[in-house]
Subunit: 361 residues, 2 copies
Amino acid sequence: MQLRIPGPTPVPDSILKSMTKQMIDHRGPEFVEMLNKVTDTLKKIYQTKGDIFLLTGSGTGGMEAAVVNTLSPGDKVLVVSNGAFGDRFGNIAQAFGAQVERLNLEWGKAVDPQQVRQALSKDGGIKAVLVTHNETSTGITNDLGAISAVVREYDKVLIVDAISSLGAIDLPTDKWGCDIVVTGSQKSWMTPPGLAMVSVSERAWKANAQAKMPRFYWDFSKAKKFLEKGQTPWTPAVSTIYALAKALEIFEKEGLNNIVARHVRVGTKAREGVKSLGLSLYADENYASNTVTAINVPEGVDAKKLLKILREEYNTVLSGGQQKLDGKIFRIGHLGYVNERDIDITLKSIKAALPKARMAG
Amino acid sequence: MQLRIPGPTPVPDSILKSMTKQMIDHRGPEFVEMLNKVTDTLKKIYQTKGDIFLLTGSGTGGMEAAVVNTLSPGDKVLVVSNGAFGDRFGNIAQAFGAQVERLNLEWGKAVDPQQVRQALSKDGGIKAVLVTHNETSTGITNDLGAISAVVREYDKVLIVDAISSLGAIDLPTDKWGCDIVVTGSQKSWMTPPGLAMVSVSERAWKANAQAKMPRFYWDFSKAKKFLEKGQTPWTPAVSTIYALAKALEIFEKEGLNNIVARHVRVGTKAREGVKSLGLSLYADENYASNTVTAINVPEGVDAKKLLKILREEYNTVLSGGQQKLDGKIFRIGHLGYVNERDIDITLKSIKAALPKARMAG
């Protein structure tokens, strides 16, 4: 099976096997050692001296945690969105009573940092900026370096959804001044879903001290108190942490630079290959994501039929389009446990399946 | 290693092995089939015709979900507490703005349903009752049948923390009229931590339609919408669901009545054994839990030293006391994958370790 969706991503056998380890006491010394080691390694990949917490939940849980730990109801936030996940970030902030100013930009194009600047200069009351690093729904990687520079200039709290970027695309958290950065275990981390990871800067802690949105399960101050003794406030997903611990060993062996370079190669290969099949890319190629490629469904092809044929006849699982892109694009996920050979196989399957997916008539 | 804490509980090898299965698309047909099957089997054990949702999170996340899906800020709730987890339920409701009336009863004793009746008859403004079925911190099983009868009489929404009871202690959800019942995968379910399961009654849905507490990740209406197509709104903990699916096969083979009877035998054996060692039980034996036994630390014994010796010299991991019981009790967890032989081994270890844990002087 070629599972080439943007998460859950394939998990190497050695990591799957790590989950056959028996349960341990999450208040005992063995757990403390594991959690501290995982946290320390994550800090290197995040490139941060800030805090890192493992939260038992999905990436969306991590996004909710970022919001409720930083803001108060009525706080004005700028949500920069050019896709479904940017929209989701705004919906979360809204659900918890933030005053959400949405900078809704064109899907498939990168965010122009100048538009962020304009929005911030126009409205001094904005407290935080919520931004998606890699927009999984469209296959765009926003220029977070440039966006963060603008946000730093205006001294706002910067909350980043890096769920499908971190660990595959370079994100120097401290250098760029990102205050909260959220990722999820089932993306580049080669680990099953069930854990969200978040970094928390000094500036985020200052916001946290003022933040009045209700929180209990996601409360960072509880997480910090428990992490000081190498624990989590609530029973953590022990097996998934076994998997993440093993994955981080593999990460350290390959090295972050090599991992990022591999994703560049794989992403480039996917885009070149797609074009060589006569297909067109949905996203602006100058900002094309190296973790997910979105492809326009060619005229006369039924997207659902294509995905079904790929799944049933070619053992290849790809993703469709979300929301307004449903039926219009399909997506190849290429993050985590992936190499150029995987892309070759996927492209071959697409090439063979396409003619069969033509609509009748 | 004898892991005898009240969760995470030991996981049988066949269940651990089920987690070596490769990832699948959580929007694909294989996942749909698995989730529907798990949900249907859970309904039998819950003894409910209501909805059941799998939430990626710990049991505490499930408790938070129950609260925020049912209540509005300012709603008055009665929190019946006779231990640390009852207190936690109140703290969650309070964090989200409920007006919390705490019926704080003696720890180590069962809740007297008459006191619940008094509290409800005194204050007609109470909207919901939050109660702990099995108080893990003290080793008491409250008489939920009798308590629920009172709550039904007053027609309040009944939210039950059954995290350390359901699947080991009988809890006929519909018969008792429990509106939301929360449990966690790492307890009687022989599954690693990372999933909370909740049932939702018609009455709970009516409350949900009025409930204004902010929610996004835990939102039951989103969960229901996605469950209709056999999915979850957010990427679920796929591997942990593999484990739960396998565990439920084992559940079905043994049968709920046999499982409950086994826990009665194991619980009885633990209590008798503890007493035969000259130790005394912390909890009222008439309501002693069949999933966890709390034991008074005998005079002259250092609890921390006892647990350390048990862990390091006898490969036996037990739990200490929580909060005000720290240093005063220790606890044996006996739920899930446990039989009488396990209790024998544990008791033998305690007997051998006790003299070594006497304080100097």
